[in-house]
């Protein structure tokens, strides 16, 4: 279908074979969680303007269908189940490829995949059954988080081991290293402090900080790592602004580290904390511009590859969402606007544009690129991928725009105290109805990817891909931008 076949490297067949089971272990349940997320997204968007929708089971009112519980589950399955699982699977495989090493500790990484999904399953069960007793991190209660933490430790340790073994150095590896380190650090902090008798205000700060940090220091950096891997490998060109990539990397981790209090405007905390959070979020636009310029420059150098490769289109559209999300962070970071936009749908929109937009699209690119290599089969058929691409883009873009715009409307109407709260609700209803359409688009997209995989397995069976020559591997390595 595209440039997939052009870019095999580092004698990758052995490397890919060693990663096959563990990556599929992360990815297969991820698609189940994605379908759950899509279905919940639809139900929740209807419930927001029709609160009596789906509140009973065989005529009996039940708690597990309540909006609050389903929203928590939606957050958990989207962040941990889908985005988290996809970047963990793609990430470790790409790090292995860049290191040129086979995965020696398959059992450890396999256990990580199992524990990650098991922890999420336990968390979802607790939320639905009403067993949550205190705060949760992005929908995942403490008990599930503890299992996810063990999974994260095993994964990060394996990634760091792979990175240490490799003799070369690539930009994508920097981001992988940073994300692996921060993931464990964030989850350890949350678990350690949540179990202690801490001051309430610290608990409020901690959960908000962890939520922001998990996205800004784990999911998004892993998305950037995947993009930095996929683009040069497929177009086989050096990064045009390679020296700037280091500036982008360090500035990303610097500003993202300080952005934990973003969105806490007016919270009962020292002013410097929320100000630093806001300022850092605004400045995240600097590394975003570096990443986008670097990768778009690389894409522009071979327009044909872009036309041929749907993988590159997924990545390019993901970069557009990354940039758009950066602009949204700038908007909420402006002091006059932050009080209006925080505590509205705008904040949810900011998270959605990066998790459902950037990370999801790049992950799907990695999936369509990687699965044929991992299972040593032919690439996916173009038609199915095209339908999937456009339905995902339309659905995500509609959802993001509606969330951001309705956040602005919501913030402005709440700020006008002469309007009653009923008028605030009324002003948001058209956007709530619009989100149902976005949710249907996304549900369709997730259904299409499922069909694509089924058809692909059915048609291609056990046919193998051919191995590429050593010369070609060298070209790709150079294109990826080996560090000096």
């Amino acid at each position: 279908m595209d440039a997939n076949n052009k870019a095999d490297w580092l004698g990758a067949e052995e490397v890919d074979a060693s990663f096959r089971r563990v990556v599929v272990g992360f990815w297969a349940p991820a698609f189940f969680w994605l379908l759950v997320s899509g279905a919940l997204g639809f139900v929740l968007s209807v419930k927001l303007y029709k609160p009596d929708f789906l509140t009973t089971f065989f005529g009996y009112p039940v708690g597990w269908l309540s909006y609050g519980r389903l929203f928590e589950v939606w957050q958990a399955v989207t962040v941990y189940g889908w985005a988290g699982s996809m970047v963990l699977g793609a990430g470790i495989w790409m790090m292995g490829r860049m290191a040129g090493k086979v995965l020696s500790n398959r059992l450890t990484v396999g256990a990580s995949a199992w524990l990650w999904h098991l922890g999420l399953g336990v968390g979802v069960w607790l939320v639905l059954s009403g067993g949550v007793q205190d705060l949760s991190l992005l929908g995942l209660p403490r008990q599930g988080l503890a299992m996810v933490w063990i999974a994260a430790v095993l994964w990060s340790w394996s990634v760091l081991k792979l990175l240490r073994q490799g003799k070369k150095e690539f930009v994508a590896q920097w981001y992988g290293l940073g994300a692996a380190l921060c993931l464990v650090w964030i989850l350890t902090t949350v678990l350690f402090l949540m179990g202690r008798p801490i001051s309430g205000v610290v608990e409020g700060l901690l959960i908000h900080w962890a939520k922001q940090s998990l996205v800004n220091l784990f999911l998004v950096p892993m998305g950037i790592a995947m993009a930095y891997y996929l683009v040069p490998v497929i177009v086989k060109k050096r990064l045009p602004l390679y020296s700037l990539a280091a500036v982008g990397f360090w500035s990303w981790f610097f500003f993202a580290s300080w952005s934990g209090a973003h969105g806490l405007t007016g919270a009962p905390l020292p002013l410097w904390l929320s100000t630093l959070g806001m300022t850092s979020s605004v400045l995240l636009l600097v590394p975003i511009v570096v990443v986008v310029l670097n990768l778009l420059g690389s894409l522009q150098s071979d327009p044909k590859a872009m036309i041929e490769s749907w993988v590159l289109r997924f990545v390019a559209m993901g970069l557009a969402f990354l940039f758009f999300g950066g602009l949204a962070h700038v908007a909420e970071g402006i002091s006059n606007w932050s009080g209006v936009l925080s505590l509205t749908y705008f904040s949810l929109g900011e998270m959605t544009v990066w998790v459902m937009g950037f990370v999801t699209l790049v992950s799907l690119g990695a999936f369509y690129y990687g699965l044929p290599y991992l299972l040593q089969k032919k690439p996916f058929e173009e038609k199915g991928v095209r339908v999937h691409f456009w339905s995902t883009v339309y659905g995500t873009a509609t959802l993001v725009v509606l969330l951001l715009v309705s956040g602005i409307v919501q913030g402005k109407t709440i700020a006008n105290h002469e309007l009653t709260f009923n008028q605030v609700i009324e002003s948001g209803l058209p956007y709530a109805r619009g989100r149902v359409i976005a949710a249907l688009f996304l549900l369709m997209a997730w259904g299409v990817v499922f069909l694509n995989v089924l058809k692909w397995v059915g048609i291609n069976g056990f046919r193998m891909c051919s191995r590429k020559s050593e010369d070609e591997k060298q070209v790709v390595m150079e294109a990826q931008g080996e560090a000096v």
Partner: protein
């Protein structure tokens, strides 16, 4: 990776410094926070929460209420003008170590002072059972599963919820709150930040205005 150690150390330092400032320092600072104790009566401000209120906080967490309601009053905005509070929330308001639900969105109104704005337990029961019975434009979901419909044995129970119209139970039956509903309402009634603190004084007229003021 050629420079594994350098980059590992670099990220650890960059993230570590920010972590110290945004997590560790507030932790050590706020852990020393104490309530204001009246020397004559021994009363604490903010008051100590009862066991039922603590259980109510758990029910609040279990229903995911924080997904739609915040519990923090911001100064300088419309929060106080809307009657959601009489002053800005301060760290001491959250002195007790129970879960703190600052929330992430205001799909519904702020609940920091809902116990002052709406002090009737019966109102909360009716509202939880069917929010639209009290506000036809409400988008809050009903929490009927927190109530039990049962046959009246002898006299109607003291805690039977007064329901009307299509919500009214069939003849000979009554709707009573479960223990979870009672705990949740006790928790909601305890939401009160209208007291004065040394760092957050309250003007008397504002306090009065809130008691007579807007509904949640």
């Amino acid at each position: 990776m050629k420079r594994f150690s350098e980059i590992f150390l670099g990220v650890a330092v960059v993230f570590g410094i920010a972590w110290l400032a945004t997590v560790a320092v507030p932790y050590t600072k706020f852990v020393q926070l104490q309530p204001v104790v009246d020397e004559e009566t021994g009363d604490r401000t903010p008051p100590v929460e009862s066991g039922l209120v603590r259980r109510g906080a758990m029910v609040y967490a279990a229903q995911g209420c924080a997904g739609c309601h915040s519990q923090r009053i911001r100064g300088g905005g419309a929060d106080i003008d809307r009657g959601w509070g009489v002053r800005q929330s301060v760290p001491r308001d959250y002195w007790e170590s129970g879960p703190v639900f600052w929330g992430s969105s205001r799909i519904g109104p702020d609940l920091s002072n809902v116990g002052v704005r709406q002090p009737s337990a019966m109102w909360h029961y009716q509202h939880l059972y069917n929010p639209r019975s009290l506000n036809p434009d409400s988008i809050m979901p009903p929490f009927r599963y927190l109530f039990e419909e049962r046959k009246i044995v002898g006299q109607v129970s003291e805690d039977a919820v007064a329901l009307f119209g299509k919500d009214a139970p069939k003849p000979g039956y009554e709707v009573v709150p479960t223990m979870d509903a009672k705990a949740l309402v006790a928790y909601l009634l305890s939401r009160n930040q209208s007291y004065a603190l040394p760092e957050a004084p309250v003007k008397e007229e504002k306090q009065e205005a809130q008691t007579a003021g807007s509904k949640p």
